[in-house]
């Protein structure tokens, strides 16, 4: 009987649950590249092609190859197992779209702030957001564009005023395994964070 098949499907299907990781950072830091590298589906992206009008607003002199910027949101997906799916949501890169951040961040397991070391100042707003509202654990991931970093993680921590307990790691956004390391680091930190923030009473 067909309906029986459906009801057993339904029972196992109902166990499915999901979680979310937020990928934040400055314009052109490598957020979309990271989502792309780790996602099992082509990321669903809503990007507006930069027009000449937007060049005045976005400093793209250092990343001349980049012709698009994320204006809405993009996301990828990782199926952990039969019951658990994890989504990665990129935050809008430009300050004028940050009204969307609260909605995106709500209910996230944690966040990754992707930092382009050549443009540290661009990451400040993202770091400041997570340092200020402290609602979810976050880590900082330094994207190695040319295979090397201009600053040590200590220098970055000082420059961006990252709290001492927040992990700072370096990675290559183009590499799937390297991106996976970032996600693992975030989950380890989130677990540690939960343990230490449990009420003593």
């Amino acid at each position: 009987m067909v309906s029986n098949d459906f009801s057993s499907d339904k029972r196992s299907n109902r166990k499915k649950m999901s979680s979310k990781i937020v990928i934040a950072g400055g314009f052109g830091a490598g957020k979309t590249t990271l989502v792309h590298s780790v996602s099992e589906i082509p990321p669903v992206t809503t990007e507006a092609i930069m027009t000449e009008a937007s060049i005045g607003h976005d400093d793209n002199s250092i990343t001349p190859d980049k012709t698009t910027t994320t204006v809405a949101m993009d996301f990828g997906r990782i199926t952990i197992d039969d019951e658990l799916v994890m989504y990665m949501f990129g935050t809008p890169g430009q300050a004028r779209f940050w009204f969307m951040w609260d909605d995106l961040v709500r209910g996230a397991v944690g966040a990754v702030v992707v930092v382009d070391c050549r443009r540290l100042a661009d990451s400040f707003d993202a770091v400041d957001y997570f340092e200020t509202n402290k609602r979810i654990p976050y880590i900082v991931a330094l994207n190695k564009f040319e295979g090397q970093l201009d600053y040590t993680s200590d220098q970055v921590r000082e420059a961006l005023e990252v709290s001492p307990e927040v992990p700072i790691i370096d990675f290559d956004a183009r590499s799937r395994l390297s991106g996976g390391e970032v996600l693992k680091a975030l989950l380890r930190y989130a677990l540690e964070h939960n343990r230490t923030s449990e009420p003593v009473a």
Partner: protein
């Protein structure tokens, strides 16, 4: 300018939602939705957009995926899915936020899963 043109093409949300802008169920972008009785045809009283959601969610999908695949703005999708849930036509799956210690087990499972997938 292309951004502005895209906005003007949007269907006004209130035409779908009767003026309501909030959903009654906690629906986040990552929340999974599935049709309660996937074998059944959607009730004929539903609006075309809701019928499309009903049909699409015969396979479990996140709210963001529903919104992207059907090209319905996220906020509108939220309200429509919430209405379908109110009528028990769709099931809203649990969302793991990691904010309560009871969810640590799931986070540990996610970490083990990532260790398996990215090694």
């Amino acid at each position: 300018m292309s951004f502005r043109r895209r906005r003007s093409n949007r269907v006004r949300p209130f035409t779908f939602t009767g003026g309501r802008t909030r959903s009654r169920h906690p629906l986040m972008v990552q929340t999974l939705v599935s049709t309660s009785e996937p074998g059944q045809e959607p009730p004929g009283t539903l609006m075309p957009e809701s019928i499309n959601i009903y049909k699409l969610c015969r396979e479990t999908r996140s709210l963001a995926e529903v919104s992207a695949e059907l090209n319905i703005p996220l906020g509108v999708t939220q309200v429509l899915v919430s209405d379908l849930a109110e009528q028990d036509l769709v099931y809203i799956h649990p969302t793991i936020t990691g904010s309560s210690p009871s969810e640590n087990q799931v986070l540990e499972r996610a970490l083990r899963g990532l260790e398996r997938l990215f090694q």
